[in-house]
């Protein structure tokens, strides 16, 4: 399994270096620096040289690297890297060079705990925080009983939850967050539209609560078992946090679980049918001679007028030899960003049922040889509160606990897109007037 774990900064300096096996030397870090950090054309997250494989994940200019000497389970190694990042986030907020340097001793302690001899161990941040703390601990001062509790939890069947959680007010917040992926051809046909949904839960519940979770009545979780009718919400697939009893879900379709304390992702799902696209983009792009490109881009909102889309950012690609762009917008602000070869049109808020149009002209310099313009798609980011593109709705969340307390539940919905809502453009040529 994993023989070594490293963190590099952008310059290739080692910030963390831990070897788990004697089959590696510290100098292996130099190989990674030469092969990946200083290589401008890295075309794979995995590089194998001889028997040694380097797996890397990039985050905020850091390289999180695991090195193996065997036929490692690649999915497992990457999942581990992701998990390390999420633990680090949970411990010190962000993961960048500064944070890593400021907490390097803590990180060494963590990675000693979450990997043993290359095998991932318990990596639940909540549990780790009970015994890898940011406070100084005098070893004799920990009562042995206290530690036993910790170890039982770290290895127990509900390793994700302490038994002794207490809250004055018992609350649970459920956030349904959907990311819409759209790829639309220039002619307006949908090439693919799907929804990645996440159900996030923040549970502040005392004791060991048993939760049951219910979604739409007409919900088809397995597309193959049809029969719920045309307007049903269909999920292609769903995946659950480890606390959910999968066998129960498999046999009776109930989602029941003992939640971790605090925030976690209960469920992730994917839907491809009956997707309600919140925004519709209609682009017209014309090339006039070799000196101008004109744009008319209409954005239509496609939902109830009581709701609104916020933080809408439309990125309109411009040819590489653009000198300036004249933009006219009825709403928001549009600005040409030469470094990225796009016009960025920001709209703070659009009401449902509205329609706004951008019109603009890009002026081009004449170049001696025509540069190839790859015509990237128009990309739209947005957020719509209290709307789900899949139509998914939370019907109930029941909490059962020995002490029978009353609990308050809150549900929010958010549909968003960032970098994945794209409309391709074709440029039709017109002769200059």
């Amino acid at each position: 399994m994993i023989s070594g774990f490293f963190i590099f900064n952008q310059k290739g300096e080692v910030l963390i270096s831990r070897l788990y096996r004697t089959d590696l030397k510290r100098s292996i870090a130099d190989v990674f620096r030469i092969q990946v950090v200083s290589n401008s054309d890295v075309r794979s997250p995995i590089i194998t040289l001889g028997s040694t494989s380097f797996f890397h994940v990039r985050i905020n200019n850091l390289y999180i690297v695991a090195v193996t000497k065997c036929n490692a389970n690649a999915a497992l190694v990457f999942e581990f890297c992701y998990r390390f990042i999420s633990i680090a986030k949970s411990y010190f907020g962000k993961v960048d060079e500064e944070a890593v340097k400021n907490n390097f001793v803590l990180i060494y302690e963590l990675i000693d705990e979450i990997i043993d001899f290359g095998y991932p161990q318990n990596s639940e941040a909540d549990t780790l925080k009970t015994y890898i703390t940011t406070e100084s601990v005098v070893s004799t001062s920990i009562a042995a009983e206290e530690s036993s509790k910790i170890t039982t939890q770290a290895t127990g069947s509900t390793s994700w939850r302490r038994g002794d959680v207490k809250y004055k007010k018992n609350e649970a917040f459920v956030d349904v967050v959907e990311t819409v992926n759209l790829s639309m051809s220039a002619k307006g046909t949908i090439l693919r539209a799907d929804v990645d949904g996440h159900i996030l839960m923040r549970a502040y519940l005392s004791g060991t609560p048993e939760c049951k979770f219910g979604l739409n009545d007409k919900l088809v979780i397995d597309k193959n078992e049809r029969g719920a009718g045309g307007d049903a919400v269909e999920l292609d697939d769903c995946r659950f946090h480890q606390c959910v009893r999968l066998d129960e879900f498999d046999s009776t379709r109930t989602i029941s679980f003992i939640p971790p304390d605090g925030e976690f992702e209960l469920m992730r799902y994917r839907s491809t049918s009956n997707i309600k696209l919140p925004l519709r983009i209609i682009p017209t792009v014309n090339e006039i001679g070799t000196t101008q490109v004109t744009y008319v881009i209409t954005v239509k909102t496609n939902f109830n007028n009581k709701l609104s889309a916020t933080n809408v950012i439309v990125r309109i690609p411009t040819p590489l030899n653009t000198t300036s762009v004249d933009c006219k917008v009825p709403l928001g602000k549009a600005k040409y960003v030469p470094a990225e070869n796009v016009v960025v049109w920001k709209i703070p808020r659009i009401q449902g049922g509205q329609e706004v149009t951008f019109s603009g002209t890009a002026k081009l310099t004449s170049t001696t040889h025509r540069q190839v313009w790859a015509r990237p798609p128009i990309d739209v980011d947005f957020q719509v509160l209290m709307f789900t593109a899949s139509g998914l709705i939370v019907r109930f969340l029941k909490v059962f606990e020995k002490s029978n307390y009353h609990s308050v539940k809150w549900v929010r919905y958010l549909t968003k897109a960032s970098g994945t809502y794209q409309v391709r453009i074709t440029v039709s040529e017109k002769i200059a007037p």
């Binding site: 340097k101 070893s139 397995d222």
Partner: protein, 702 residues
């Protein structure tokens, strides 16, 4: 440790041994809260990280072990893990402290002590450890037991014979029956690690999980029963668990006979695989490379999902290339139009490599899906019009194969190709073009002029092009034997190849043609222009046996490179399907056992845990299979994959191609609809994405 958002960055400065030593000495007095020592140790750890050799401080750092702060202890232990092996002669200094910790009341400290000791594989430490480990494996705290289980694997790595003699393997096996799932998971991981070693113990554990599973596979219904249980794990949030569940299912399907269940499983596997595509790009990549294998073995999976593999503009290049290959595999008459439209879109992107492969895929699509051929050819012609050099070259290369696939159908486009002769500067495309000119010299009016131009630089051309030129010149002569130019041309080329070229292949071919032409030109013509056999391409898909074997490595590096791990990783062992009465009879016909090299002189047999086995229906083992099978429950995918490894290594055998068993796969593509499966020969083993482990020696690069 410093508070939330620590302030330790300031310690990231190179320091001198002398300074640290002085600071440590100074810290021995007036250091009530140990803050001084903590600071110096942090500086030392930072320097270790930066690659500064801190080993001279060994004795000084070890002094700090006396402090009761856990944080300081952990830093000293880290220091020991780094330099312990170098300073083996001084390690006896720390043994008493280790031993004391091994018997601490606090289970976290006990576990920390054995974990650290086992990271320092020197004789002194191992000696001390073996005694402690024996106790820890039976510790009443599960956390200590789970740590001890991994320690056995470390001990085995350091000194296998000692571990065997000490009875640790048996103790590890006993942990498989532990009541705590985490302990079981680590025991499985440790055992499978030991079992994977080429010189490791061969497991003949009559009653362990491993063997229980193997014996459980005596009947088809057993495989089916296990599969039904594993299916639930496809909904797990961890992609490693999902892929491992799929690995188990694919493996079990070799032992099933219930076709409906198999269809059901295939259907069940699709959606989780697609969902993996919304993970991070790295996991997407792992998933895509595996999907490519899975759809070749079980074409029913994802059959109708080609759209989800369309590239997003901002996908990383490695994801795009992997998707491209899958798109081609999933292309059929029904979706060919959409796939082609996508490929055309990609052909105008920026990344040269991706564009080239998109262009090639268009050609391959033409060859694979006959009804789409017209549209594909038109697309290629449009691309040639762009006059972008690498696009044209790729197009020419594939068009050559299209000609061979559909003789007499598209030759009309040859003039278009000839217009762009001067854009071809790479050997492969040039050779393809020369082949086209030679093959169709009778249809190209000015073929002799073209050939004359092309042979102008004959001696400077790469071998690939020279070979093509030689053959083309001969063909031209046979088509037009009475023309003076062709006569002169062929003479010139034959003379060059036989007299001035060093390459033996080229020279031999030159002599062969020369003699053929000299002895009997008519017969020579019949031979050279004989009807080409259609490019039969049944090998486009990997052969069944190879696939079965590779799929036993689902999710691992081997599945990414599409290579068996023993071929590129030193010391890795191969895997193969295990023979059993339930194995599909057709697969069994061609079983070849996987050889294990470097076997220890004697294999060690270890009886099962618990009471000596009475019969098959032993209650303890029953319990293992039915309820506590650790694969699914583990939160870390390690356990799952480890368990499968146990199932498949060892006394095994492989199945191979021609069994064409019951399978769904054999039916759809192989024959009539896609006579071109064996594209390997046509494209020289071309794949859209072919990541490769590199066989360079690491040391050369440091």
């Amino acid at each position: 440790m410093s508070g939330q958002g620590g302030q330790d960055a300031k310690f990231f400065q190179r320091g001198k041994i002398q300074e640290f030593r002085a600071e440590l000495e100074a810290a021995e007095s007036k250091d009530k809260k140990y803050t001084k020592r903590k600071t110096v140790l942090k500086k030392i750890v930072a320097n270790i990280t930066m690659g500064n050799d801190m080993s001279p401080l060994f004795t000084d750092v070890v002094q700090c072990l006396g402090t009761p702060l856990l944080e300081i202890k952990k830093m000293v232990y880290l220091f020991l893990v780094c330099y312990g092996r170098q300073k083996a002669d001084q390690l006896h200094l720390v043994i008493p402290s280790f031993l004391q910790d091994c018997n601490d009341r606090n289970p976290l400290v006990r576990a920390l002590a054995i974990r650290t000791m086992s990271y320092i594989p020197t004789p002194v430490v191992i000696e001390a450890l073996t005694e402690q480990l024996r106790h820890c494996l039976k510790d009443r705290d599960p956390y200590v037991r789970k740590t001890a289980a991994i320690c056995v694997a470390k001990l085995y790595a350091a000194d296998p014979r000692k571990a065997e003699k000490g009875g640790f393997v048996e103790m590890l096996r006993d942990l498989l029956l532990d009541s705590n799932a985490t302990v079981v998971a680590n025991a499985v991981a440790a055992l499978s690690e030991i079992g994977d070693r080429q010189d490791g113990v061969i497991f003949k554990l009559n009653l362990t999980v491993a063997n229980k599973l193997l014996t459980a596979l005596e009947r088809h219904s057993d495989a089916e029963m296990i599969a039904e249980r594993v299916v639930a794990q496809l909904n797990h949030a961890n992609s490693a668990v999902v892929l491992t569940a799929i690995k188990i299912l694919l493996y079990l399907m070799n032992y099933m006979e219930n076709r409906r269940l198999m269809e059901y499983i295939c259907k069940k596997m699709g959606p989780p695989l697609v969902t993996l595509l919304s993970s991070g790009p790295e996991v997407q990549y792992v998933a895509l490379r595996n999907i490519l294998l899975i759809i070749q073995r079980r074409p029913a999976v994802l059959k109708n999902d080609v759209k989800v593999f369309f590239c997003k503009y901002n996908d990383p290049i490695y994801v795009k290339l992997a998707k491209l290959e899958i798109m081609y595999r999933l292309a059929r008459e029904e979706n060919a139009r959409e796939v082609l439209a996508e490929l055309q879109e990609y052909a105008s992107e920026v990344d040269v490599d991706f564009v080239r492969k998109a262009v090639r895929s268009i050609g391959r699509l033409a060859i694979k899906v006959q009804p789409a051929a017209d549209a594909c050819i038109q697309a290629l012609l449009d691309l040639i019009e762009t006059k972008v050099s690498y696009v044209v070259q790729e197009a020419v290369i594939v068009i050559k194969d299209v000609f061979r696939r559909y003789p007499g159908k598209y030759e009309g486009i040859i003039p278009k190709l000839c217009e762009h002769l001067d854009l071809l500067d790479e050997p492969e495309s040039k050779a393809a073009m020369v082949w086209i000119i030679g093959q169709f010299a009778n249809r190209i009016d000015n073929a002799d002029e073209l050939m004359d131009d092309l042979t102008y630089t004959f001696l400077e051309e790469p071998n690939e092009v020279q070979l093509a030129l030689l053959t083309a010149a001969v063909k031209l002569f046979i088509y037009k034997p009475h023309s003076d130019t062709t006569k002169a041309l062929v003479h010139k080329v034959l003379k060059w190849t036989t007299e001035e070229v060093d390459n033996p292949d080229l020279r031999d071919r030159g002599f062969m043609y020369w003699r053929m032409l000299a002895i009997n030109p008519t017969v020579a013509g019949e031979i050279v222009l004989a009807e080409k056999p259609p490019i039969t391409t049944d090998a486009d898909r990997m052969d069944r046996g190879a696939l079965d074997q590779l799929l036993l490595h689902t999710g691992t590096l081997g599945s990414i490179y599409h290579k068996n791990p023993e071929t590129f990783i030193r010391g890795a062992t191969g895997k193969a399907l295990t023979d059993s009465p339930a194995l599909n009879p057709l697969s069994r016909q061609v079983l070849v056992p996987v050889a294990r090299t470097n076997l220890p002189p004697t294999t060690i047999k270890i009886p099962g845990p618990g009471p000596p086995e009475p019969t098959k229906s032993d209650p303890t083992s029953q319990h293992l299979v039915d309820t506590d099978f650790p694969v699914p429950s583990g939160q870390n995918g390690a356990a799952s994959s480890a368990a499968v490894d146990l199932m498949t290594t060892g006394s095994s055998s492989r199945s191979s191609p021609e069994d064409g068993d019951e399978d769904d796969d054999a039916v759809p593509q192989a024959s009539a609809s896609d006579p071109y499966a064996a594209l390997d020969s046509a494209f020289g083993g071309y794949l859209a994405d072919e990541p490769r482990p590199q066989n360079r020696d690491l040391l050369d690069m440091i």
